[in-house]
Symmetry: C2
Subunit: 286 residues, 2 copies
């Protein structure tokens, strides 16, 4: 049970967490804080939070659990504002898609990693955003990855794990570097390719016709290019090193395909396409 939960940034992610925990009866009081008072008032009306406090330092004071749910690009600034109000007893967590940058922001603001800090990444989302889009079932059946640090207390990990399990999520643990690499490969890289493809086609001549011809596979392929540009800018900056690493590998692998096409090397193309098809058929469903 959580006596007082403080959500910093009451949007889709933070709002859905608050709703899920309130529905589960796992929290006595939810306090929200964000830059936009109208959004916070709406969050109270929607029953997402009990009340709000505009100043994040005041909002955090006295909370058992604090969840940073602001955009990745705002995490560092928020850490600076709350550092004086977070005690050694406070459990501090977040929802960011890249963990190394969040850990650095916390370390930089606090001068060390507080024992109550448990970096977390719930792998869930919708194409909508904001508190109006929040719903209690967002995390059901989705993975939440915790990346505890050597400084993190086992008790804090247990509390954050218990909180997420109450939302219906499946909680796993790994380390920061591994998380950032795996997410760079399976999520951040595909988004770059899809944004790049749609942008490339949009800048060709006849792009109305190009898009009109686009068949089913293309629609699936580019759906992720409809994601929030600001969020993805922040992810690129936050997970820069891991993302650049997988992009460099990908660009080299794509050049192998290009060269095989240039040389009319059907055997190499067949080998690559077969290996890819087998890997996908083996590891994915649907």
């Amino acid at each position: 049970m959580i006596a007082r939960l403080c959500i910093l940034g009451v949007g889709l992610m933070g709002g859905s967490l608050a709703l899920a925990l309130r529905h589960a009866g796992y929290v006595d009081e939810v306090i929200g804080s964000s830059r936009n008072e109208a959004h916070l008032r709406r969050a109270v009306e929607l029953g997402v939070i009990d009340r709000y406090v505009l100043d994040p330092a005041q909002a955090v004071a006295g909370a058992d659990v604090v969840v940073l749910a602001v955009p990745l690009g705002a995490v560092a600034g928020m850490c600076q504002r709350i550092r004086g109000s977070v005690t050694e007893e406070t459990v501090l967590s977040d929802v960011g898609s890249a963990k190394g940058a969040v850990v650095e922001a916390v370390r930089s603001a606090f001068g060390h990693v507080p024992s109550g800090f448990v970096p977390a990444h719930p792998i869930a989302g919708t194409e909508r955003s904001g508190v109006e889009a929040a719903f209690a079932e967002l995390y059901q059946g989705h993975r939440v990855i915790l990346t505890p640090l050597p400084e993190t207390s086992l008790e804090a990990v247990g509390r954050v794990r218990g909180m997420w399990e109450r939302t219906g999520a499946v909680v796993e643990e790994t380390d920061v570097v591994h998380h950032d690499l795996v997410l760079a490969a399976t999520s951040h890289l595909p988004h770059m390719l899809a944004f790049g493809l749609v942008d490339s086609l949009a800048r060709m001549g006849n792009h109305d016709e190009i898009f009109r011809y686009a068949a089913g596979g293309f629609r699936d392929f580019t759906r992720i290019a409809s994601s929030d540009p600001v969020m993805w800018r922040d992810i690129c900056i936050a997970n820069r090193d891991a993302l650049l690493g997988v992009m460099a590998r990908y660009e080299a692998d794509l050049r192998l395909i290009t060269r095989a096409i240039e040389q009319g090397d059907g055997d190499t193309l067949l080998k690559i396409f077969t290996r890819a098809k087998c890997a996908r058929d083996r590891f994915t469903i649907g």
Copy 2:
């Protein structure tokens, strides 16, 4: 109406065309030909064709309409085998995903472009292949692109258009070069990116875990990497020039994203992602 239709290559595409026309009562007799007699026997059992003739030159003789539905890589050889049996009265068409290479194969085999030749590309397919996968509704509501040549007779175009309309397809016309460029951009390029991505990830360490983490967006994105490797090898070879052109543009555009990430240039990233999102949201549905 078609008195005698000859399908060369009775797989998913050719078989579905035959079934659709038989169901519509638009054809009196369907003759099939392919390398594999067992497949042809099965096609007769399934009611896809009336009878088969193993030698394609004999199969073609006396047909009003001949449809080349062999894999793209087999088109040139097939043209060589049937050239003596195609008359000026024969309507000859195909189902290839790249049109320039098919036109070259026909021109090379016949020494000229027969006036009855109407290159066609039905934009439809499933993940399954072979005559067992054929069904009469495959083309309903899908686009079929005709790319008639200066040598092509209007009458032949009309007959091929009428045939495809009877399958429930929406028939459009454009020229060979334009078709090959648009398809390279909207279909062939995305397939290369998806094959390349899955292959790149499959060759990283921990690829079991990489694929296990792969979330919803990744599954959509890579679905097209489950397509038939042989077909895609043939398409790469057949549409080489157009595909290399769009791949070069794409690689340059992707490098702009890579450079912006390297430089921490959030403004450029936001501009590219926003442009892509707007283009996709404007031009696609779902």
